[in-house]
Amino acid sequence: MSLNRLSAITRKEIIQIRRDPRSLLIVFLMPAMLMALMGYGISLDQKNVPVCVFDREGSQQSQDLLKHFQASIYFNVVMVNDDYASLVRAIDRGKCSLGLVIPNDFSEQLRNGGEVDVQGIVDATDDNTANLIFGYGEAVVAGYSNDVQLQYLSSNGFATMNAPVSVQSRTWFNEDLDSSNFIVPGVVVLVMAVIGTFLTSLTVAREWERGTMEQLVSTPVTPLEVTIGKLIPYFALGFIDTIFCEAIAVFWFQVPFRGAFVMMFLASALFLAVVLLLGYWISAATKSQLAASQFSLVLTFLPAFLLSGFAFPIDQMPIAVQAITYLTPARYYLTLVKAIFLKGTGVAPLMPQMFALTLFATIVGRMALRSFRKVLE
């Protein structure tokens, strides 16, 4: 390898990037846009779910139950209906996502110590949301039942009696159960995957399309020199982007950063190497800018979104799909980023992921080198 040739390629590439406003837009505007779009657009939280109530009894007890709902951060009672039909209409029109129907013998049955059924009608157009609403709703009702039982017991002389077993749960790493803490680091991974591959996907194809490649490959330059020389400036840009995105995550979205910077740099460098090489490989193999940019989007965005564990938990996927996720570099980087951001995990437990990314970089690098050939056919 010749340093003269390597630095000639790198310098030329830097000049071309500087003179091409498009590439600067990709580097600086695209990550900011993607972060804003996905950071705000994707939220798995259900807070302030609108609730409609048809209280057939209107008693002290039924109002108590409703107060429990109103007190919860998850629900917001927006409408009180006088009949069943208007409740259904409210759900139909999307005015509320949960309709509660309290029976007319609610307090009487409670007094008799029997079981009371409260009807909940959930708009299940989005089944995921519906499940969450059900879960929260049951929790509120259970809390109310608990209170009722305690009241009953205390009024019967068991004043200090507590429930025999209770779960005291603590949530770690994301104490507020704030889904943006979970999502924003994932968005960083998505953005890096897309930008990284996109940055390099044009670099070789452009030279083929413009005809400059024929002159380049007639010189003694080696494929390794071209590859490394071209990747150096993009690596620097990619790194700036990584820091940029992570700064947005920490300072704008207020995601805690508990890990070591060194660890984050190392993981990001490895992932960047993988995605930049992937883009370069696509570019060298397709020799067409249009095809390369399409391929790079499909090959990075979709797997990073669907298979990395970002949108769907991997352990709930079918076995065959789970197997495919192992071939998705974003999966490893996502694990690393979340662990470093939220848990502050040290080096040792993350070695398998680091190793996987190193392996990917090596393999993709090999393929990239091989697809860059110094002949024209």
Partner: protein, 325 residues
């Protein structure tokens, strides 16, 4: 040989299309070797094979004594190549392009500065170092490309249609540069489809439909390939005249060259009388008629029309023979 090219039985096929068909030749050190032929006749393919950019289907080719397939990297260090399409970076300035290729050929430090100064002077670009290459006119671009290709003082340079699409003054200037390089002992391998440019070459290979149809100095080609003498006839209407002349006694071949006919005849004096009679009888007006020395174009027409008629039956023969066995 350190700076020559040797080609033996070279064949290059793209699928069923044969771009280069059993071509053999060799160049002498320090000569300007021209590869002359119409577009699509296999010139670029041959030059690309010699520069290691394409692999031959069969046959052998050596550049500077090195095999083009096995030692293509060593060859690349010793040659300069200028592709047919302008292929420097339009978004780089003149000096940036020169520095880039200097770096690729490992020309550094004071040597690079000196070579860049030389290249700028040669291309007439001194003072325009910082212009974007894309803003230069065709002639400047070609000379800059030549400068980039010879920064590392190669002993052999390959120029693929270097003057296509360049104005006549720039073309002339470019050929002066080629002569200068040749005078310094550089072997110049150049393809062209301009007949007038071919006259500048020391030796010429005429290539047609992938086949080498003749090889020699321009003078040899002109004298040897045209069997007989050549008449130049200016007449009107020219198209009718061509038809009539072709059937006149003693005429072997006739073709339109510009606004006149070039007619190949066995004996000029006898044929002139026959042609005059034939044209007069059809009422075609003769403006001028006389004997001329054959040009390269005459040679090319003679060789390619012969070649075309000769190849067809010989191929048919080969097929009949093989089917008999």
């Amino acid at each position: 040989m350190e700076n020559s090219v040797l080609v033996r039985d070279l064949v290059k096929r793209f699928g069923t299309f044969t771009a280069v068909d059993h071509v053999s030749f060799e160049t002498q050190p320090g000569e300007v070797f021209g590869f002359l032929g119409p577009n699509g006749s296999g010139k670029s393919t041959t030059i690309r094979i010699l520069c290691g950019l394409l692999h031959p289907t069969s046959g052998r080719a050596e550049v500077a004594g090195l095999d083009v397939v096995r030692s293509s990297e060593q060859i690349r260090r010793q040659i300069g190549y200028m592709s047919q399409k302008f292929s420097l970076y339009n978004d780089l300035t003149v000096i940036e392009n020169l520095r880039f290729y200097g770096g690729l050929y490992n020309v550094v430090g004071g040597e690079l500065d000196e070579r860049i100064r030389w290249a700028l002077a040669m291309a007439g670009l001194s003072g325009r170092e910082h212009s974007l290459t894309g803003t230069l006119s065709g002639g400047w671009k070609q000379r800059l490309a030549l400068g980039c290709a010879v920064l590392h003082r190669p002993r052999i340079i390959f120029l693929d249609e270097p003057t296509s699409g360049v104005d006549p003054v720039s073309r002339r200037r470019f050929w002066e540069l080629i002569q200068e390089l040749s005078a310094e002992g550089v072997t110049v391998f150049v393809t062209t489809h301009y007949m007038d440019e071919a006259e500048y070459c020391n030796r010429l290979a005429l290539i047609f439909r992938g086949r080498l149809v003749a090889l020699g100095t321009p003078t040899e080609l002109k004298l040897n390939s045209v069997k007989g003498e050549i008449l130049m006839i200016e007449a009107s209407p020219l198209g009718q005249a061509l038809e009539v002349v072709k059937t006149a006694d003693g005429v072997r071949d006739a073709a339109v060259f510009g606004n006149a006919l070039h007619v190949v005849v066995a004996n000029a004096d006898a044929a002139m009388t026959a042609v005059r009679t034939a044209l007069d009888s059809r009422g075609i007006q003769i403006k001028r008629m006389g004997r001329i020395r054959p040009s390269l174009e005459d040679a090319f027409v003679a060789l390619t029309s012969d070649g075309a008629t000769r190849t067809a039956p010989s191929r048919a023969d080969a097929r009949t023979k093989s089917s008999c066995h």
